[in-house]
Structures are given as C-alpha cells and as structure tokens.
C-alpha cells in the first residue's frame, strides 16, 4: 500500500502532450511539411517521455504516488467520478514503457512511412493512441481507465484500417473493434459489480474496500461477488489483450502498418489487460477461483498460440501469434499471484517484441513489402544491422540465459510452481499444471521463433531476382531505434539481477520499486527458482536446436518429411485450427441470420411497408383527386376558376331567406313573417306565399308578412318564395303547417 501521496499539477501534462500533438496534426497536418509533422509528432511523445522519466525517477516518492485531480467529471448524489491521474510505481513503469518505446517507434515510422501520402494522418493517430494509452494507465479510477481503454481501441481500429482502401484492412479493423466490444461489455459489468459492492470506482478506495465485509461475504449467483467481478473484468482483458476466446482479432490486426503492430499490438495496448489485473490485484486475490481461471486461460493461450505459430508463413503473423502467446505468459503470471513476474514480463516483452516487429518492418521494407518467409532466407549479409538486432531479440524471447526474456519467463514459470495462493481454496493442482503448460509453451516459443530466424536469415534467398535485387538495409532513422530496442531486450532483465545473484531480495530493483504497489514479491524457494532456471535454459536451447534441425538454411529434410507425414495436421495448424471459421458458424452466422430476419420483418415490412409505406399510399390515394384538378394546365385552372366565379355570382345574388321564418298558428288562422324581424334588404324584394303549395300564391307583394285562414284543419305545405326583380333571381322553400 502506498502511504505518501503528492499532489502535482504536472502529471496531466504526460497524456496531454500527445493529445495536443494529435490535435495539431489533425487540424493542420495536411498543410505541414513532413519535417514539421516529424517535429510535432516525435516532439509531443518525446516531451511526454521526459515528463514521465522525471516523474518516475525524480518526483515519485519511495512508497508513494503522484496524484493530479483535473476536474470532476460527473457527480450524482454519492456517486462521483473525477478525471484524476495517479502515478505510482506500477503505472509509472507502464508510462516509461509507453513513452520511451512510443518515441522510438515514432522515430522509426518516419523512415518506414516515408512513401506514405497520408503521412500526417498516421502520426496524428499514433499520437492520439499514446495519449489514450497514458490515460489508461494513469487514470486513478475504473471509468477514467475505461476512457483510455476505449480510446486505445478506437486508435487501434483507425490504425489497423489505416490503408482502408483495401477491404481486408478495413475488415480487420472492424473485427478488432467488434471483438473488443464484446470484451468491453464484460469490463463494464465488472465495473458495475465493483461499484455495487464497494461503493466507489477509485482504485485506492477499491483496494481499501476489498478488506471490508461487503466483498468478503457477499455472494451473487452462488459465488462470491469478488469472483464475478474479477471474471467479468477478465473478460474485458481477454478482448483487449487477445486471450482465448477473444484472441482472433490480433493476428488480423497485422493488416496495419508495422510500426503500429510494434507499438499497439505488441508493446503497449495489448498489455492493458495485464496492467488492469495487476492494478486490481487486491480484488483478484480475494478470489482464488477467478485467479485460477486467469492463470489457466493465460497458459492455454500461451500454448495454443505457440502451436499455431509453428506453421505460419507470414512474418508478421508469426510475431502476432507470438504476442498472443507471450500475453498468455503474462496472464499466467498475474493469475498465479505473481504480479511482479507478470509486469516484469510485460516490460521485457515490450522491448524484444517491439524490436522483433520493427525488424519485421525493416525486412519487409527490404523485401519490397512482402512478408512471406518462404521466399526469404540469407538476409544475414544483406541487412546486417537488422540481423544483429533480430538475433538479440530472438535469443531474448527464446529465453536464452542472460537476456531479458529469460529472467521474466523464468520468474513466471517458477512462480506458477511455487505459488501458495491456490492451496487454501483446495485447488493446489492449478499452479503446477499452469507451470507445466508454460514450460511446453516456452519450448514452442523457442521453436517457432528459431524457425522464423533460420528461414529468414540463413541459407539462400528464395525470392525472385527482381526482389532479390532490391534488398537493402534500412536507413539510419529506422536502424537507430532498432539498436536501442536491442540493448533494452538484452539488458532489460538485469534490473532484477542483483537480487537474484546475491540472494538479497531488496537489491532487486524492479521488485524493490513495485513492492509497495503490488505487495511483496511471491516467495518462491531458491531451490525451485534454481531448478527452473536450469530447466528453462535447457528448454530454450532444445527448442532452438530442434528448429535448427528442421529449418537451418531453409526447409530441410526433417521439415519436409514431417509435413509430408501429417499433411492434414499441418494444414489444420496453418489454418489456425479454423477457429475463425468455427466462430463464423457458431456466432456470426446466427447473429447475421437474426439480423437479417429483423431487417426483413421490422425494417423492410413493418417500417418500410406499413409505417412509412402505409401513410404514403394513403396520401397517394387521396392525392389522386386533387391531382385530377391540379394537372399543370393553366387554362384548366382558369376554367375551374370561371365555373367557381359563376357559381359564387349565382348564389351571392340570390335574395336572402335568412333561416327559419316565423309561423304562428291560432285555430285556422296562420301568420307568417318570412324575414322574422331580420334586416331589411337594400333592394326591393317581392314575396309570394303559397299556403297550400298548389302553384297559385294566395298572397303576393313587397311585404315580408302574410295572413291566411285555412278552410279546414289539416296538414299543409307552405311555400315561401322571395324574388329580386332587379336581378331576376329567386329562392324558395317549403314548410309544414299543422292546423287543428
């Protein structure tokens, strides 16, 4: 636990600078010259790197953290989320990796993307990614981390599909994004569970809450809440960090430019899941069951991806499966409670895998863009610098003693065998099982990496003459970062060496720094550690030797014989065990069918036909009548106008019979008032009263009243006619009169 917390305004500058760089490049990049783009892009990440180094090595107090509360993001009642950053030994280490390797790759990309017309857009995305990644690791609460988590996902999507004009690239971007969304769904549910039972989303407060009763005793769906929270958060991690079952997007992500593969899909973004588990380690430690799942999934992924790596013939595909496999190692590390070891492997892997990817870029640059290792070979002499760097990184990832990968991988394997955390839960077999799988995976790693190395650098070049002719070493701007990464890959593991060599744990520089955050390093007896150092070394050398027998100098007899003996199996591995096809059948097809069904029923029929088409058809039907009049024929309009005017004239000039006349009946006498007191007309009118409607009016004259006496009782029709003598118009109406 950290004790000292120093508040500093400067912390926000670390993510801010790449964001500023991205904003400048997005707004003005098109108008800027390449030199200016280089200065802005590399300058932004370089400044962030300087700030991060200063914060980590100078400002960060031992056993402490730096905090920067920028603003309150949202607040409702007790729920409050601040946009706040926090740099402790763990997030600080990640910041160093991101900014330092990010800077190297920014420099390298200046050479690699030399011929790219959309130069500024690339660097804008790259800067944006670095900013989002820094937000991810520096965020001091789950929501802020999630913002970074989504931000890096977006940048990953944008950069995988950077050459979006080719459909497969755009599809690979979509696949990465959608697969990650599935993981994010788990992350969100995990976040909700954490909030429900701890009442907070800040990491420090969650850590404190893990000691409380709510987490220890609450259960949900028959299992402790901690188990579910950890499991759902881990689902998020499997998406982001390409673990079984959501690893399928990462190999396809190689469609992006190679510097992107090195930075995002090897060194930084894909390790976010490992970082998250390490960040939440107190929560994970509450649930050995969830830890076991993390460890087993990690180990299974490590082995599975390594096997697929045996048969891939694309340079970057091999490295992609290698990344998936190495991420499995990291998860196996954190899953066995060896958080130090997992983060240590994250750190060493960042160097040697970024180096390997950048070598891949350099080689593909030399091979006119082709990444097919079956046509490579003999590149040792033609690309000496790349060869040297690749050799160092290759030996590092194989786990040859003395190089960084050896220390970190050994730490994970030894930790898995020696871990005490599963004992109490009665699942002590998990540790040795994970360790054994990891040892096999390590042998596989040595084999497929050596296969790659021998096929690319030894023997004769198998490409055609045209490509052969063009092979050249990359420019200094690309080789420089490679050399730096090689130094890191070679020496990066030495930070733990003093402790390991002299048996003084406090001399272990990395653990010394991380212990306050991650708790004390896993105590593994020295005897176990030494045994596994020997076993790991033997396994690494054995894997390399086996690969040499198969592939040194090209496809040798044993390799050909093996492929001929089990062609079906080799093809199955080359097809990645057809997991993509399986997913397509199991998930994508049904979802597509449901989607199509909904599309046809709801969209096409309900909305298009009924809800939209119905009113439209009704309106159309009703519109037929006015359309008959409104036919665009001006003379027709005038004709209707004339008819209307004539009708108006006819009715307007008729004398008014305003409403019901007043009819008074008394006995046989009837009094009628046709105007019943209304206004007198201006024109003289004539009235006719035909009391028995026989055509012969009984009373005529200019007076509107009349009197008549019926001869006998009965029911009579009274017709009143008004006439305007000036116009010759008239109007008449009849009324019934009952006389008793």
């Amino acid at each position: 636990m950290t004790d000292v917390e120093t508040t500093t305004f400067a912390l926000r500058l670390i993510p801010l600078m790449p964001f500023l760089g991205a904003a400048v490049l997005m707004l003005f990049g098109r108008k800027m010259s390449r030199d200016w783009v280089n200065i802005v892009a590399a300058g932004a990440i370089g400044a962030a790197a300087i700030a991060a180094f200063d914060a980590y090595f100078h400002a960060l107090p031992q056993d402490g953290a730096l905090a920067d509360n920028v603003w309150t993001w949202m607040q409702t009642g007790d729920f409050k989320v601040d946009v706040a950053f926090r740099l402790d030994a763990l997030s600080g280490l990640l910041c160093l990796i991101i900014t330092f390797i990010g800077f190297l790759i920014h420099v390298y990309a200046q050479g690699y993307m030399e011929h790219e017309p959309d130069y500024a857009r690339f660097f804008a995305y790259l800067n944006l990614f670095c900013g989002a990644m820094l937000v991810l690791v520096l965020g001091d609460s789950l929501p802020v981390m999630f913002v970074g988590w989504e931000g890096v996902g977006l940048c990953s999507y944008l950069l995988i599909g950077f050459w979006y004009k080719e459909t497969p690239n755009a599809d690979a971007g979509k696949k990465a994004f959608i697969t990650n969304r599935i993981g994010d769904f788990g992350f969100l549910i995990g976040m909700f569970l954490v909030y429900q039972y701890s009442g907070t989303l800040r990491f420090t407060e969650i850590d404190a809450a893990t000691k409380g009763a709510a987490f220890l005793h609450a259960s949900w769906l028959g299992a402790p809440v901690a188990f579910w929270a950890c499991l759902f958060l881990f689902i998020g991690a499997t998406g982001k960090s390409a673990q079984i079952p959501l690893y399928v997007w990462l190999p396809d992500a190689m469609a992006g430019p190679t510097p992107v593969s090195a930075l995002i899909h090897a060194a930084t973004m894909v390790t976010a899941g490992v970082y998250m588990v390490a960040r939440m380690h107190l929560l994970y430690l509450l649930s050995p069951g969830a830890m076991a799942i993390v460890a087993l999934v990690g180990a299974a992924t490590a082995l599975f991806a390594a096997i697929i790596g045996f048969a891939q013939n694309d340079f970057k595909k091999v490295l992609a499966y290698s990344t998936v496999s190495q991420l499995g190692f990291m998860f196996a590390g954190v899953g066995t409670g060896n958080f130090d070891g997992g983060v240590f492997h994250l750190y060493t892997h960042a160097f040697f895998k970024a180096g390997l990817f950048l070598c891949a870029g350099s080689i593909m640059h030399a091979m006119s863009g082709s990444g097919d290792i079956t046509i490579m070979g003999g590149l040792r002499k033609k690309t000496p610098w790349t060869f040297a760097v690749f050799t160092v990184c290759w030996l590092a990832i194989c786990g040859v003693p003395g190089l960084s990968g050896f220390f970190s991988k050994d730490s994970i394997v030894a930790g898995a065998f020696g871990t005490p955390i599963f004992k109490e839960a009665g699942i002590a077999w998990v540790g040795p099982l994970v360790g054994t799988i990891l040892l096999i995976a390590a042998a596989g790693t040595a084999f497929y990496m050596s296969r790659l190395f021998f096929l690319v650098f030894t023997g004769e070049t198998r490409a055609n003459d045209e490509i052969k002719h063009h092979i050249h070493e990359s420019p200094a701007v690309m080789v420089g970062p490679l050399v730096v990464l090689a130094i890191g890959a070679a020496l990066g593991g030495l930070v733990i060496l003093p402790g390991a060599l002299f048996g003084h744990e406090e001399w272990n520089l990395l653990a010394h720094r991380l212990d306050p955050v991650l708790g004390h390093e896993l105590e593994v007896p020295h005897s176990i550690e030494e045994i596994f150092m020997v076993i790991s070394s033997l396994i690494a050398v054995g894997g390399i030797a086996a690969a040499a027998a198969f592939y040194f100098g090209g496809f040798r007899e044993p390799a050909k014989k093996f492929a001929a003996a089990v062609p079906g199996f080799v093809q199955l591995v080359r097809d990645k065990f057809r997991i993509d096809e399986l997913y397509a059948k199991l998930f994508i097809r049904p979802v597509k069918l449901i989607g199509d069904g909904i599309f046809y029923v709801v969209d096409r029929i309900l909305i298009d036909k009924i809800l939209v088409g119905g009113p439209a058809a009704l309106t159309g039907f009703l519109a037929r009548i006015p359309r008959w009049f409104q036919n665009g024929d001006g003379q027709g309009y005038m004709g209707w106008f004339a008819i209307g005017a004539a009708a108006l004239l006819f009715f307007a000039t008729r004398p008014a019979l305003s409403g019901e006349p007043r009819i008074n009946v008394s006995g046989l006498d009837v009094d009628v008032d046709a105007r019943h007191g209304g206004k007198a007309s201006q024109q003289p009118l004539e009235y006719e009263f035909d009391f028995d409607d026989d055509g012969k009016p009984e009373v005529t004259g200019t007076v509107s009243t009349a009197h008549h006496t019926y001869a006998r009782p009965g029911s009579y029709k009274l017709r009143i006619t008004v006439r305007n003598p000036a116009w010759g118009t008239s109007q008449s109406e009849t009324h019934r009169v009952e006389v008793q």
Partner: protein
C-alpha cells in the same frame, strides 16, 4: 340609352374574352382574351358610373387600363421567354408541372 344595353354588351365582351382565355392554346390569343375581359369589365364600370352618377367607376376604369398595360408587358415578356426556352408559344406544351 338604358344602362342594361351597355351591361349586356359588356357581358358579351367578357364572355368572348373568357372563351378566348379558356379555349385557345396560343398564348398570344389568350393574352388578347384577357384584354377583352378587362375591357368588358371597364365598360360595365363606366355604365354603372354614368347610371349612378358616381365617378369612382371612371377612376376604376383608368386603373384597369393601367393594369392591363402592365399585364400585357409582363405577359409578353414571359411569352418571349417561353418561346426562347422551348420554341413554342402553345400553352398545352408548357405543362412541366404535370410530370
């Protein structure tokens, strides 16, 4: 002479004009029909003005003459535009709104 004679003449003029407007296809003739309608109206105005001894009718007649001149100017301008646009002055060939 009785006012009615003038009114009948004015009505006949107006009817002839209306017939021209409604039945002829040539815009020029239609414009001439409109002139006849206006003149029929003018004659009725003057007849009533004299019969009722009210000068407002004369004023109206002048107003209508001015209006008729303006209408002829605008109408003929449109006619020229129409002819330029589609090489015809027939109204039944200028029915874009129909489609």
């Amino acid at each position: 002479m009785p006012t009615n004679y003038y009114l009948v003449l004015s009505f006949i003029l107006f009817l002839i004009g209306t017939g021209g407007v409604l039945l002829r296809r040539n815009t020029l003739i239609v414009l001439m029909g409109i002139e006849l309608q206006l003149n029929g109206g003018n004659l009725a105005m003057l007849a009533f003005a004299r019969a009722l001894g009210d000068e407002k009718g004369h004023v109206f007649a002048f107003l209508i003459i001015a209006l008729a001149a303006a209408e002829a100017a605008v109408g003929l301008a449109i006619l020229v535009g129409l002819f330029r646009g589609r090489q015809t002055v027939n109204l039944d060939e200028a029915t874009l709104m129909k489609r």
